[in-house]
Amino acid sequence: MVHKIENQYKEILNQYMQRQSEQNLYVGQNFSRQLISENISPEEVISVHKAAMQEIYKELPDVVWHSFDFLIEMMINYGLALQERQSLLQRQEEIRVEMDLAANVQETLLKTKLPALKGLDIGLLSIPARKMNGDYIYFISDEEGHAGIAVADVIGKGLPAALCMSMVKFGMDSLNNSPASPSEVLGVINRVVEKSIDDSMFVSMFYGRYDASTAALTYGSAGHEPAILYRSKTGEFDELYAKGLLLGVSPAAAYEEHTVQLEENDLVIMMTDGVTEGRTDEGFIEREVIFELIQQKKDEPAQTIVQHVYDELERMQNAELRDDFTLVIYKKV
């Protein structure tokens, strides 16, 4: 094989020495790719080059051959750096596989079941900025027509955030599917988070409890992006704001709760800051842009509205997600 390469090299070099044309350089450069793909190191290239020159131009003075020997010595460390690249590429591939597997584990671990509730049409989407999602949606529901819907965001992204999120999930699990009041739920999760993670990690969460029999929504927030209520009758957007510290800051934190009455075709929009803090080349995307997008599809099913908002925001940002993106819309039908 080495012999074949030497012959090919001599042939290509000889062509170039006859005529210094672009065509011959093009052939040479294509050949150099082949050499790299066969792990031929730069010092070997110089050595093959020297041998080819020796065959074609025997009569050249010794200084030329010495000069190539010197170049070979200079290239040894370059060759090593290139081998290092190979093993780094391999390592990167291994990490990619491990991350993919971990992302799968996380998905299974955090899966939650959409409640089938009379009078409520739910659409949702949660897209991680990197491999692992640091946003989370959790549903609770009981037989009596109560549904709890939580949207959480770990401050931070990637792996560390994903690890924290598993804690929120098991905290929610410990509620045993009874959709308690927002101030209770946020209080429980706050203590779990406070106990289990270090002081630099915080979680924000919005929790809404919907009662199908009265169409009332009770909500609370732990330092989370406020939800939005779209009033079908007036076409207005209202913020659903509730006071409350981030989860994990203080074990004694207390959480407000408020109640609103939903009317037919009203929309409740819960999200993380990855939705509202998207950026284009011109700066932050205005909230009004998002309202506009929702209004365009307000008569469609909730999932269609969610998908439309995501598609349009992604397009505006050139497909570059800076933060995990989570959007839940429910529609009173």
Binding site: E22, Y26, Q29, R33, Q34, S37, L89, Q92, E320
Partner: protein, 133 residues
């Protein structure tokens, strides 16, 4: 100020013609041997991409002067299928691990500025500039 010329890419020979055009312009502008070779390699890569993935397109070479600094601009434009996942194509190791060549990250490294616009089904427009230091 800009001064332009271009080569239609239809066959592999046209890649060589685009390289030759780029090398001439680079030389004329005063780029050294190594930079001439780099600019030529970038053109080669872009032309080859057009030839392989779009079937046909155009390489345009412009001479630039900005604030008294001279530069060369390569435009590679085609009406091919576009690049479905730009993020992935710009990743290291994606195109080079098999020794397939410099790939687009390579073009970006060979030049000073790099911009890509691609619409699936409509085509791709890549602009790369190198300034004379």
């Amino acid at each position: 100020m800009s001064n332009q010329s271009s080569v239609e890419i239809l066959t592999e020979w046209d890649i060589v013609a685009a390289r030759q055009l780029g090398r001439n312009v680079a030389k004329e502008l005063g780029f050294g041997t190594v930079d001439q070779a780099r600019i030529t390699t970038a053109i080669s890569e872009l032309a080859r991409n057009i030839y392989l993935y779009a079937g046909q397109g155009r390489i345009e070479i412009q001479q630039l002067t900005e604030n008294g600094v001279k530069g060369i601009l390569i435009i590679a434009a085609d009406q091919g299928p576009g690049i479905p996942d730009v993020r992935r194509v710009m990743e290291d190791g994606f195109s080079t691990s098999g020794g397939l060549g410099a790939g687009l990250p390579g073009v970006k490294r060979l030049m000073d500025e790099f911009k890509i616009e691609t619409i699936p089904g409509e085509g791709t427009d890549i602009r790369a500039t190198k300034w004379l230091r």
